[in-house]
Symmetry: C2
Subunit: 395 residues, 2 copies
């Protein structure tokens, strides 16, 4: 016997909130001595010993040289500046967090928006190829929700047309392809370690590349364009990771594979259970890929399911399940970019209208998954009442 | 009887190093409970309660609305983007850390370098006025070493020519003018709270402005251009201060006036003692100004003093006094900018050739100041031997 829907009863069926993200951090005890030492000596930033050790550990984990950053966005801006996209175009998806095109704009480039593949939600290769012109500096793929891009396909396009291939993998640290953590695909790849990510250092990020020249440029750019105390020929910024973030990252890394395993289980359970309901569609990563599933995206067809995405989100929130309409605003229609193109991006626009991101935690319990699934089933079963209630509320 | 010079004896006259900066941070015990709570709840960033409280406390301290940032550079880039300098010129000093022109470049503007006043080392008003054209978007003054710019003079120029007046006061948080902490001068003013600064949050910074519209734009820009979950019409970045930085800043603020007092004493002692030696010149802040003195800059005339700046720095380092040739590379001659102008900046070029920055600490002891002064006196007294030794070493 399921509890009544909170939306209809006025009482949430769950007292404790299930937020959209629930970060896991180490206890302060595990790094207190290191932090106290850093505070006492004043060595709290500027490529200190913990950042250096963290970079070595990250490099070993992904198998590719890694630079730590203050944030994923600082890494992304630095990557684009290291390639130098000034005055040129960068092909990006619109189905991404706005950080992606914003970084292109800061780096002096123009984002050109491509539609995504309806199954993987990553860049559509045919779209990308059509958008490549002599003005194109780079393709910037996004590993949305942690789903890896078609690395081979984009690499082939980049080689064929002589453009750089870069990855904004902000959501995707930990995703595995063919059993190995991603990192070092394309000319360079960045990750975010923000608190909302599966692997979190509070704020933080990384740039990973097999290109020694690009690595050296990025290393200078993240420190105001300076290396060995001298100015390098480009405008750098402050992308330095503080020691405290590296201390936390170093405590996270040894346990991180457990988080990936759990998140994969959560996604399988969501998909198996929700796949029985009509009107729901899911992203389908290519075979052999294990995404970190930053969230679990569900596309809700109002006709098939009986309720719109917005109505489902409202009903879930009334039972303290806080999902996210992510991404409900495609980048190409944002005020900063909508004058740039009149192109329609049908897949992107359909997903942004209908997508609901369900929470995935590193430590999600079976009970929590079961509750979320059961609530969605109950909302579907009482779709007519939910709709009546919401219409009455609005009126 | 003074000890022999380490350079000549081969033995440093002081065992413990006096570094160029010696940051002071609170003990971890003073914020451990807050940090553990943040880690346990996951609320470690994204405008959390400690950042909000820190902003309120900073606003009260300077008497002007304040936004906290991840770094001074993020605040600076955001300030320039909030004003929107894309495709236009920004008049900046060349006698500054390269972060200043780099931020202008990131924001899509062109830095135009002006010379500085030989006494205050801040922007020369006559120079600025000559460089204003219809392409000028803003004047960006720098409060170098913590010396406040001529706020009234620059404000008058800005008003007269209709250009924005902004301040990169990265080194200068705590400086007082007419007895009050600076902040809120011009259209907006930024500060750095980097570990090298007198007021430090590890990494951090702030933007301070009396203009509510500029404040709202900056608030959105530091969060990817988003406010209330919707996109604003410009490319934002990630300028968010993490909670840990705000926790530390909140512990620093109540004691900070003690630091200012001590730093003023250090500067007076340096100036009084070193003023007796020939060939040394000092910056002269306007009357009524109490700079935070990030460093104490001394200009060394090789003819008057008997040794060049580089020789003095080498001799001091041999006695474990680590000064900084700051700034030895003027921005207008850096690879990123030297094609932009063929103008000479005589005051800037003279100071960059001859300036040595002496350490100033929040907790500098009389003994430490005395030792540094005494070493400089000894180096001067033995200038001929020092020069012979250095020539022999090179040869």
């Amino acid at each position: 016997m399921t509890s009544p829907l909170g939306l209809l009863s006025g009482h949430a069926a769950r007292q404790t909130v299930l937020p959209i993200v629930r970060p896991t951090f180490p206890d302060i005890i595990s790094f207190a001595d290191d932090l106290q030492h850093a505070l006492a000596t004043g060595q709290v930033t500027n490529n200190g010993p913990h950042v250096q050790a963290f970079e070595a550990e990250l490099s070993a984990y992904v198998g590719t040289p890694t630079l730590a950053f203050s944030s994923g966005q600082a890494a992304l801006m630095t990557m684009l500046a290291a390639v130098d996209v000034r005055g040129r175009e960068v092909i990006v998806p619109s189905f991404t967090f706005c950080a992606t095109p914003h970084a292109v704009a800061w780096a002096g480039g123009t984002p050109v928006f491509a539609d995504v593949d309806p199954r993987t939600l990553t860049l559509d290769l045919g779209e990308v190829e059509r958008l490549i012109t002599p003005r194109t500096a780079a393709i910037l793929g996004v590993c949305v929700y942690g789903i890896a891009c078609d690395y081979d396909g984009l690499q082939a396009l980049g080689r064929c047309y002589g453009v750089k291939v870069l990855y904004d993998s902000a959501p995707a640290f930990g995703t595995r392809v063919a059993g190995r953590p991603i990192g070092g695909f394309g000319d360079a790849q960045i990750f975010s370690f923000h608190a909302t990510k599966a692997f979190a250092t509070m704020e933080g990020g990384a740039l990973i590349t097999n290109d020694p020249a690009l690595l050296a440029r990025a290393d200078a750019l993240r420190n105001f364009g300076q290396r060995q105390g001298r100015a390098w020929g480009a405008a750098g910024l402050n992308g330095k990771m503080p020691e405290i973030a590296a201390m936390i990252g170093r405590r996270q890394l040894p346990h991180f594979d457990d988080a990936l395993r759990r998140r994969l289980e959560v996604a399988v359970r969501y998909r198996d259970a929700l796949g029985r309901l009509p009107g729901l569609a899911f992203a389908t990563p290519p075979a052999g890929q294990e995404p970190i599933w930053l969230y679990f995206p569900v596309r809700i067809d109002p006709h098939g399911f009986g309720l719109s995405r917005d109505d489902v989100a409202t009903a879930l929130a009334a039972d303290n399940v806080l999902c996210r309409k992510y991404f409900d605003q495609p980048c190409h229609l944002m005020p900063a970019y909508r004058n740039g193109t009149s192109r329609r991006l049908p897949v992107t626009e359909a997903w942004t209208t209908d997508v609901l991101a369900l929470p995935v935690y590193n430590d999600q319990t079976d009970e929590e998954i079961g509750f979320i699934v059961e609530r969605i089933e109950a909302i579907h079963a009482q779709a007519a009442e939910v709709q009546r209630h919401l219409r009455a509320t609005v009126a």
